[in-house]
Amino acid sequence: MNDEQIETLLRKAPRPVAPAGLLETLQSNIALPPRAETARVNRTETTPLLRRWFPAISFAVIFLSCIVAIAVQTNQIAELNRGNETLRGATQNLEQLRRDNAEYQKLQAEHQELERLRKDFAELQQLRAEVAQLREQIQETEKLRAQNQQLLAANNQPAQSTGNDDSFARFEADARAEAESVYCINNLKQIGLAARIWATDNGGVYPPNWLSMSNELSTPKVLVCRGDKGRTAARSWNEFGPGNVSYEFLNPNGSDKTPMVLLARCPIHGHVGLSDGSVQSGSGLGRTFTIIVKDGKQVYTPLNKRPDGSPYE
């Protein structure tokens, strides 16, 4: 037996018959409620107001919520559109600013290039001026060189000398004499230094003669003054003799405690070398000393006035 057959049989179930008199009993027992009028109250009045209007209120609330949501979203969309417009405008301004900046950078680079060119031009002008000045100096030098050559040519032709040639010869002779004087002073300084070295090694006593200082003097040539044309310098100490000395040795075996005592003197120029190693020029108007003999020694004595009577500065 399947479900359909079972259901069919169940629906055909016999209904028990009510006993007689039950209907009358039930009808006689009907007791309707005393407030029968209230039973006819309108259903809408018995239903609570909120429950009755709940569907409409719910729909209205949902509808208003949707409207508010749509309004808010519309407002947001409008704000976003305005923001987009603003950003687009800013973007356009940004492009303009970029172009301006690029142009400014270009102009600045050109300005720097121009400044550099100006500096180069100024330097070039300065160099040109220096070149011109150098050219002038070269021309002047060439002119002086030509004059010098002319003078040299005139000097080499004494037969054709003139008054200008005489003055040039005197100038040359003076220069040569001055050079010989300086050379003589240098010789006296070397002699004084060698004598002091010898005295240091020998208990403060100067050497007895020139030959004793052969170890201290580098060469015997310093013992001959160039102004002394009658004497020649010895080539070595082995060939040294009295004829190979121009200077006078004035303090043999003297003490180094007497610095003002003359050690050597040039008879040509008058220069004197003192025992302390210094040299005093004794030629011309510049002579500032005199020599006094004291205890058999020639002593250097400075003067208050020059030999020509002018005071010392």
Binding site: M1, N2, D3, I6, E7, L9, L10, R11, K12, A13, P14, R15, P16, V17, A18, P19, L22, L23, T25, L26, Q27, N29, I30, A31, L32, P33, R35, A36, E37, T38, A39, R40, R43, T46
Partner: protein
């Protein structure tokens, strides 16, 4: 019938005794038959029928018309039966003789003796079902209520009604197909 019943209900609520008598005439046999099947004797069924209609009259003003009058009436009858079950003996299963005698009265709905015999055994099996399942079978198949009306009358969900009916059919099908029962 439903609209007519509600009209009668409105009139009875307004104090119309004639309408109330007509409502009793319309529904007392169905309510009695239900109680008769559940209780197993005429006296208890008649008593429960009187209690049911007494509650109907006292509760008539509280009828909110959310369901049909028939459903509301069966709901009251269900509560009356439950209250009666709490204070009285449990329902007795109907004997085969009762169903046979009941079927013998008046014109038989069954076509032949074999179908009648099968129906007799089936009704007896229904009375052996659990109370909740049995009430659902009574209301839906015997009383002719729909699924929604049955659920409202019993105060349970429609899905529960469907589940119980499915359960009842499974039990009945399995037991009616057993050889032992077939031989009965």
């Amino acid at each position: 019938m439903s609209d007519h019943a509600e009209t009668l209900c409105d009139r009875a609520g307004a104090g119309d005794l004639e309408a109330a008598s007509e409502l009793v005439s319309l529904y007392y046999e169905r309510i009695f038959a239900w109680f008769r099947r559940l209780c197993g004797n005429d006296d208890d069924a008649a008593d429960l029928t009187q209690r049911t209609f007494f509650k109907v009259w006292t509760s008539l003003n509280s009828f909110q018309r959310r369901s049909t009058f028939s459903t509301w009436l069966h709901g009251i009858a269900h509560h009356v039966y439950v209250d009666w079950r709490r204070t009285n003996r449990p329902a007795e299963a109907q004997t085969d003789e009762w169903w046979e005698a009941c079927a013998a009265n008046g014109p038989s709905p069954f076509e032949d003796a074999a179908e009648r015999d099968t129906a007799r055994r089936l009704f007896a099996l229904v009375e052996r079902l659990e109370d909740g399942v049995r009430e659902v079978v009574h209301l839906h198949y015997y009383q002719g209520l729909s699924l929604s009306e049955t659920s409202e009358a019993l105060g349970i969900a429609t899905s529960t009604v469907k589940y119980r009916l499915r359960e009842a059919l499974d039990v009945l099908r399995s037991q009616t197909n057993e050889p032992k029962l077939r031989a009965v």
